[in-house]
Amino acid sequence: MTVLTRTRPVSVADQKTRAKRRSKPRNERMTVGRWFVWALLLAGGLVMFFPVYWVFVTAISPGGLAQSAGFSLWPRRINLDIFAQAFRAQPVGTWMVNSLIISVSSVLISVFISLLAGYAFAKYRFRGRDALFGLMLMTIMVPIQVIVVPEFVIISKLGLVNSNWSVILPSAAQAISIFMAKQFLTAIPDELIEAARVDGTSELKIFLRIVLPMSGPLIAVLTILTFVWRWNDFVWPLVALQTANKFTVSVGLNSLNGAYAHPWDQVMAVTLISMVPVIIVFLIFQKQFVQGIAESGLK
């Protein structure tokens, strides 16, 4: 049973042959109509980018570029001191460190155990395999709000409330990551594994020495997606983390909501700071990120 998309993902090899085919000139002239479409696409893209731009502009304008005195798209004066102010006024630094610790630990744990489980589901046959796989995939359909209370009880029984682990552990096992790992690892030739087995290599060594080195692209995609997902997580950290010094950046940002207590330039400064790591990851690894999204069917 597959729960998620299989929309004929584009493999790297596919893209290359296709690019070659495309590079033949096939009516690629820019006509007036094409320039018009191009202009529309660019305008749409700028509208899409506008909120991100607006965060930045609001943050650096003194008074947050309030529009009460007429419409203006850029600041007349710039105040870069706002970032230092934001760090002084809120424990933004602590939130960033917490988010970083949680996201990186989640990536390390989640990617490794997903690869292990995905490999088991892809290359072994054992009793209850398909039922178990289906059961894991079903958890994707359960919104966190439904299980947040029992989850909290479990976390408190384990004595983890208000700690980094309370956020790392519950989201470490991700059905979608196991699903993607299984899809990828199924393509590894059985002959390689069999040959190693004949040579007397232990199952763990087969995984570590043969399977793992071949999983580069998979590890890249899972790392990027997991990082972005965990960095942006909100509902569960909101419930599990209770004091401001333990907040992740999303939870901290939410605590600034309520425009009367905080000036908009400061709120947007913190918003911008919170977005910087994921935007950097996106700009560097856009290809893997987009590929991962197309294949997992999750954003």
Binding site: M1, T2, T5, T7, R8, V10, S11, D14, E28, M30, L41, G45, P51, V52, W54, T58, G64, Q67, I113, L116, Y124, R125, F126, D130, M136, T139, M141, P143, Q145, V146, I147, V148, V149, P150, P170, A173, K182, L185, A187, E194, R197, V198, M214, P217, N232, S250, L253, N257, M268, T271, M275, V278, I279, Q286, F289, V290, I293, E295, G297, K299
Partner: protein, 327 residues
């Protein structure tokens, strides 16, 4: 090196019968199921050892809470206190409370507002941005970027942009002589604003999915149609759209699932208000549990929602099977 391709038959155990060579759906001989495999010692413990870490975490943090939630839905239980079994009372209360039906209605409106718009815009963009255009990569990135912005950040920016007194949107409307709009304080517009914020973040996802599907269309097909004199619109309606229909079905189902689970943006932007005008089901569950402290009732709504989501999954799987049969 294997690509990240999903070409291998997935899940469902490819119907392997020992000693026979059985064809899988894709027509290839099933590997590893033949007699050759049987001579080898089959590792019994290794797969369990490999899935144990995940399984353990799933058991504690997914299966157990889900089971508890189902049990809670049959109990009258206040926040973290003990519960008494009340049978189907919570479900009965759910069906009779007006607020439940309000949130069902809001969920439907929200879903209808978000799903066709993001899928439609995603399709349009995928087709237009599949052609060679100057700066195509940069333009695509502009549409992708919102995907990585967190729900909380999106919400705060949108609250600021749509701020009634100082927001840029109202200033713009005033500059062009249009009336100002109470984006977040009128029940009607609040839903519109929330839908805009969600669609903004979701267009990139739909576009990525459609782009992958558009790129898998054989260009020779389109070239042949072009030589035969088919214009762009004709090529779209007769070739591209029919070939994309599996993707369209899947995207619509997935988008419905996302919309039914959408929480962050509504929670931060409106908190379900003004009044209960943007209270969707997940919002209502959270509210019943934490504001009203009625765990049992919240769980009953949760079980109802999960049942709807699982029904959608069944639909999705049917569609996926049909897609496999076609290809």
């Amino acid at each position: 090196m294997p690509s990240l391709d999903a070409t291998a038959p997935s899940g469902g155990g490819a119907g392997i019968v020992q000693g026979q060579s059985v064809k899988t759906r894709s027509g290839a001989l099933s590997r590893g199921g033949g007699p050759r495999m049987r001579r080898r010692r089959v590792p019994l413990l290794a797969p369990w050892a490999f899935i144990t870490p995940s399984l353990l975490l799933f058991a504690v943090f997914a299966f157990a809470p889900i089971a508890v939630a189902v049990v809670l839905s049959f109990q009258d239980v206040q926040l973290f206190g003990g519960g008494t079994f009340v049978g189907l009372d919570n479900y009965q209360a759910m069906l009779t409370k007006p607020l439940f039906w309000t949130s069902v209605k809001n969920t439907v409106v929200f879903t209808l507002g978000t799903v066709p718009t993001s899928a439609g815009l995603g399709l349009l963009l995928a087709i237009l941005l599949n052609r060679k255009l100057p700066g195509r990569g940069v333009i695509r990135s502009l549409y992708f970027l919102p995907m990585v912005v967190s729900g909380v950040a999106v919400s705060l920016v949108m609250v600021w942009i749509f701020n009634e007194d100082n927001g840029i949107v109202n200033a713009f409307l005033q500059a062009i002589g249009a009336p100002r709009v109470s984006w977040l304080s009128s029940p009607h517009w609040a839903m519109v604003t929330v839908v805009i914020a969600v669609v903004w973040g979701r267009i990139g996802f739909c576009m990525v999915t459609y782009l992958a599907a558009v790129q898998s269309i054989n260009p020779a097909l389109l070239e042949a149609a072009e030589i035969d004199g088919a214009g762009p619109w004709r090529r779209f309606t007769s070739i591209i759209w029919p070939l994309l229909s599996p993707t369209t079905y899947l995207l619509i189902v997935l988008n419905i699932v996302f919309s039914l689970q959408a929480f962050d943006i509504i929670y931060v932007m409106t908190g379900g208000g003004p009044g209960f005008s943007t209270t969707v089901l997940v919002q209502y569950i959270f509210r019943s549990a934490f504001t009203d402290g009625n765990m049992g009732y919240a769980s009953a709504i949760g079980v109802f929602l999960v049942a709807v989501l699982l029904a959608l999954t069944v639909v999705r799987n049917r569609l996926a099977r049909r897609t496999d049969d076609l290809s």
